[in-house]
Subunit: 260 residues, 2 copies
């Protein structure tokens, strides 16, 4: 497979840097082709603004959505954005690897999403009607591709457990896994989370690599999270609420997984 690894840590010699190097080696040894977007090393521009198009805003005001759509359609995106979109088109699988900072991704990676996910590319795709609300949540540009998060966290696993103070890790990651990855069509694999990384000695690092290696070895075969397709009949359109007969009486992130 073609694998794109998007990596966001400021220190090449960090645990995250070591996991990045381990992943590339492991994937290449298995015969995969790997491209790396090492956002700090690339000095990635994190902030979406009017300079993301080589053409001026079409209106009197910059509109983040409309102007990104025009730049995408007219070929006036900056080279860094177009380059990342090319990598995404090339990839069969995408791995986002990052430390959990304040319960989300580092700003530089959020800015990769904000800027690379152009209107017409990652959203605003497909028919919008009273029975099809865009190609999204199960359809879209990334359909047929796989994606996986590899996340390091300083806290303990119990802090992220179902009754842990931080909230369950699956819920913390839902806006990323469902809202950023499943939205444009990726099949999203279960995340790989490494906890308590502040105290990772040689032995625990070896075990962390073994566990991550196992996930990389099965990247092509692991069953994705069973998120429900938006346009497959599970949701009322345009309200986009889950139909009452599915997960009846329940609410929250978990109802968007078909666990029947």
């Amino acid at each position: 497979m073609n694998v794109l690894l998007v990596h966001a840590h400021p220190e090449p010699g960090s645990l995250n840097g070591a996991l990045r190097d381990f992943s590339i080696k492991r994937l290449e040894a298995a015969g995969h082709h790997v491209q790396l977007s090492d956002l700090y090393a690339m000095n990635w521009k994190a902030v979406l603004d009017a300079n993301d198009s080589t053409a001026p805003p079409a209106g009197t005001r910059f509109d983040p959505s409309l102007d990104s759509g025009r730049a995408f359609a007219n070929g006036t995106q900056t080279a860094d954005i177009a380059g990342e979109q090319d990598k995404l088109r090339w990839a069969d699988a995408v791995i986002l690897q990052f430390p959990l900072w304040w319960y989300s991704m580092p700003a530089i990676l959020k800015g990769w999403v904000d800027r690379v996910y152009a209107h017409g590319f990652a959203y605003g795709v497909g028919e919008h009607s009273d029975h099809h609300w865009g190609d999204r949540f199960g359809e879209g540009t990334m359909a047929g591709k796989r994606a996986m998060l590899v996340v390091t966290a300083g806290g303990w696993a119990s802090h992220y457990s179902p009754r842990g103070i931080n909230g369950p890790i699956d819920d913390i990651l839902f806006p990323i896994q469902h809202g950023i990855l499943y939205y444009p069509g990726f099949d999203v694999l279960p995340p790989h989370v490494i906890y308590r990384t502040g105290r990772l000695d040689q032995d625990r690092f070896a075990r962390a690599c073994a566990a991550l290696g196992q996930r990389l070895d099965t990247l092509a075969t692991t069953a994705p999270l069973p998120f429900r397709r938006q346009n497959g009949g599970a949701y009322d359109i345009p309200a986009l609420t889950l139909r009452p007969e599915l997960a009846p009486g329940r609410h929250g992130f978990a109802i968007h997984l078909d666990q029947a």
Copy 2:
């Protein structure tokens, strides 16, 4: 009160820009003192890195947490970070106002959190022992201050309803409200969310301002979300799981609110 408004939108003439101007006028008319951190206008540096200290990393490698703690303790933080911390110390209430991009804040605002929330300032504060796991989640540097999110979203309210496809808005915002605001001690007010902002005509804008104005008028008096205090006996330490007799048998973000 002293109110800090942190604002993150690239276009001054946008709806978000108009809401920013409206908020400042409304708050000042009520006698509050307002400081504005208009992150795009300030050309805020979004990306946390070794340049956030005027001193070199203490070790051979840059450590985002340890080095931010050293810079904070030694007075070697960059002026932009120290300036925002001063604004936070000055404020009695903080408003974060932003468009919801990919189910979270724009990268520039995430980068404000990543960089301003230094170790020793927003985390790593207070005793860490087997009965007190740091001054956080109800205690900390921001204790006694109020915070509120003002968020614009292109989607419909139903899309963010309890059974909406995006997930409930309270769950989407939990990592910010609980993880970023309550963590260092803020009392967090219910969020103010404005939906379907792509089609806001003059009439709906007037109504949006009226509703926001009402929230600003009651900034000092609105009851905060009843998040549970970490060190008040509700959680087992160090596992930091909610004690079994509280919200028995339940799990997820909502159990961290004391709704008894």
